[in-house]
Structure formats: C-alpha cells, structure tokens
Symmetry: C2
Subunit: 270 residues, 2 copies
C-alpha cells in the first residue's frame, strides 16, 4: 500500500484528521511512568492504546529520543505501533537533509531501522538529497515548505521571480519531485494565508500541519484554507496539547479526550 | 575556550586545515575490523590514533551511526576523541533544524550526550530554530550555506533582491545570527566561485568545506578563493579519500598517509 492510500484509509476509518505527536520530554511526564525502565515508551504505549481510534497518524519526533539518550524507547514505540495499530501511518519526524550517500543512511534509519511509513525532510540542499527518500515509492516523504515557527519567514519568505521560497518548494514538488506520487508538504497552522496559497498550487497533495494547540494555530482557518475538495488532505498534528492533557494517572484517558475534542472541532468545520 | 579559539589552535598546532570525516559504512570496512563487537568504533579508533597529528578537526557524520543502528559506536568515538585528542575540535555533522523546543533537544544530543565542540545545522526554518544552538557561546554552530552536492542550486541559487539564497544566509549570519561569535558556514569545495563570493561577504568567518576527494573539489581553488588573509579560516573535510585509502590491515597507516598528503597539498597553496 502506498502512503497516499494508507493515509486516505486512516482518514476514513477513524473519521479523523488528527495526528498525535509523540514527543515525550522526561521532565514533563506523569510521575507514575517516570520510574519505568523505558519511561518514554511506557508513556507512549498508554497514549497509543487510548488514542488509536481517534487519529489518522502518529508522529514521533526523533529529537526527543536522541536528545535524552533514549533510542531504545523510540524503537519500542515504532515496533509497538506496527503491532497494535498497523492501519495507522507513522511519520518519523526527523527533518533530515544531506548529500546522497549520507541521505541513503538516513533513509535506512527511517525505513529499515524504524520501519516508518513516512519521514520529514528538509529541501534546502536540493533534489539529489531528497531522492534517496523519494525513491522509496511505498513510503511518504514530507518536505518542509512553510514551517510553523515564528521566524520561518527569514528564508522561506524571500521572493524570487515573483514567488516566495516556500512557493518554489511547493512548485518543485508539484512539477519535478513527486515522480513516485509519495510526496507531501509541511505547512504550519500558524500561517493560514500561506496554507491557502499552497493549496491552490497543489490541490491534492497531503499536508502535514503542525502548530495547532501549544503553538496557537486556528483550526477553522486550517480547514477552510487547507482542506482538499473532499475535505481531507490534512494531517493536523498536536503534540503537547494532547500528550500533556493531564499530568496525573489519568494522563492517557485525558489524552484520548483531548484527541477526540480536537477531532470533533476539526470535523465541525469540514 | 571558544570554538574559534579551539580551531585556531588546532590549525596552528598541526599546521593543518584537514578535517577527517568519520563516516564508516560497515560494508566498506576492512575485513580485519568487521568481526569486532563495535566495528565502527574499532575502525575510527585506529584512524584517530594514526591521524591525530595531521588534522585540525574530526567530523563524525551521525547518519552512518543512526542508519546502521550503531549509536554506541558514535558515543565511544566521541568519548575516545575527548580523551585522546582533546585539543582537536570535533564537529558532529547532523544538519539539524527544527522548532525551538525540538531544537533544544537536538542541542542536548550534540552538546550533552555527545559533547561535540561544534554541530552542523540547516537554516531553512529561520533564526528561532538556530538560537538553541547559537546560545551555547562556547560551541561552534556551522550553518549550511552553499552545499557541495550536485543539485544544491535548486533552492540555494534562487535570486532575491539581487542576492542568491546562500548569500542571504551568509549575510544573516554576518549581520544578525553571530551574536555569540560562534557561527561558521558550510560551503562545498565543488563551488569555488561561490566560495569566493562568500569569503568577500564574510572575511573572517571559519568555513567548513566538504567536497574535496571523492566529490572532486579543487584544492588549489579552495585555498585561493576561501582562505582568510592569514591563510587559515578553512576546515577542509575529506571522508572517503582518507578513511578508505586502503581496505587492508594497513588501513590506518594508509589513512594517515592520505591525510598527510592532503595536508601537504593544501599547505603548498597557502
């Protein structure tokens, strides 16, 4: 199954455009999991069990595992997702970008070591650095376009030939880089006007949209400006707003409620 | 000691601008190390022992460890470098770039977990994604500018306000991002004219220059176009040309000879 097929099935099955970001910071975890041997995994497992019928995707952010010397927790999380929620696509958020021979190693990391369904990548270095990912026709390759952070315009808003840099990225994906029909774009919920422009350029491409919740993106505008004609096309990520909904023993239950609330809010605008 | 001070001392001590890229691909290793429990580390250790008086820096590429599920080999390599060659700066090549809270985790990975002296980062997402690295005033932050790969111009050559994207990056570093005097730029040896333009924009900034050796960059042009007024300013990386100089039991000895040969070639143009 291709990534486009897998995400379309997941949108339909759970009637949800919600992606849960699995970005566990040890210091922010509920006390009841901190004593576990693999605390990030124990936390993720409970969140996954509680939310898997509310979501269209999961997105573990690799930095949280690498930065806390917890690679094993990421491996266990990826294995657990493949076993318990095989129908839910898993996006490994790594934002890699490097020369060809190195990018091949990163593709092995994402698709062999962690058997992700999709990976995020950075386009700054150009096509040959994305090709080792794009060549995996059955995997999704989600390319940074207009990111959700405050200073994303520093480079992304530079205008060349009448188009901003992020529009060039969208057009390169549309015209040249999506030869395997497996590319998607990252566009922050915090920039709804940009989201609209990119949807016009790429009417059918899936967009990964971070930035609702803690970062303040407006769900109504995201749907109005970013959904495809059939009211899908969006993988709307929330991390902190869902996984830290409670710091008590009811954290998983509260995470499920927060995921359902976001799903319902999104669906009310579809 | 700051990164600028540490690299300046290393340039002087070994009279060398050579950086050795520690990018071990298990399949390309000499047979004599393949049976080791930590084969990438065993390989690196022998290379480090043989080359540490010929170099100004080492640059382990994280993808080779992550892609081959060999994080322990990277940790052992970083620990060994700190112990045996504390005067040689170590650049962890990771090309990270992510929103602030995530970038903080990546800064922990580079500077706490692996205690690197410097890290490579990707500027596509803008200032707030670089700040968590730049705030470490004692660490080097080496920002992608004009990369060595064939399609690096896809985005980097787009012209905005009369300057190409990579020139904007150089100017942002010069004018706004180098507030802690710890930034440097990545510029590929394969683009000597661009190197010249960037040296004009940033007369004193250290440049990490990959792309000599296997990628075909011309050493004479790199020195002529990239050196600072005092004939330093360059960290010229070679990976495959040095570490795979021989596939026999003499691999470390041959790597040292290759490093010395590159050092001498570089110095002949200084």
């Amino acid at each position: 199954m291709t990534f486009y097929e897998k995400i379309a099935k997941a949108w339909a099955k759970n009637n949800s455009l919600v992606c849960v970001g699995l970005d566990p910071d040890f210091n922010k975890l509920p006390e009841c999991v901190k004593g576990e041997k693999y605390p990030l995994f124990a936390f993720n497992k409970a969140i996954i069990d509680a939310t898997k019928d509310q979501v269209c995707a999961y997105k573990p952010q690799a930095a949280y595992y690498a930065g806390q010397d917890r690679d094993a927790d990421l491996q266990m999380t990826m294995d657990y997702l493949a076993e318990t929620a095989p129908e839910v696509p898993v996006i490994l958020d790594v934002k890699r970008g490097d020369i060809g021979s190195t990018a091949e190693m990163y593709a092995k990391e994402a698709f062999e070591r962690y058997h992700a369904d999709a990976v995020t990548v950075n386009p700054y270095m150009g096509f040959d650095t994305l090709k080792p990912f794009l060549d995996h026709a059955d995997k999704g390759v989600i390319i940074l376009c207009r990111t959700s952070n405050p200073n994303s315009g520093d480079l992304q808003n530079l205008v060349s030939d009448g188009y901003m840099l992020y529009e060039h990225v969208a057009m390169l994906v549309r015209d040249r880089w999506n030869y395997n029909k497996n590319a998607a774009l990252v566009i922050g919920a915090t920039y709804p006007e940009e989201l609209k422009k990119i949807r016009t350029l790429c009417p059918e491409l899936p967009f990964l949209v971070p930035g609702v919740g803690a970062q303040g993106g407006d769900v109504q505008k995201v749907i109005a400006n970013g959904a495809t004609a059939d009211k899908t096309g969006l993988i709307i990520n929330s991390s902190r707003g869902i996984i830290y909904a409670s710091k008590g023993e009811d954290f998983a239950e509260k995470a499920a409620a927060a995921a359902k609330e976001l799903k319902d809010l999104i669906n009310s605008y579809r």
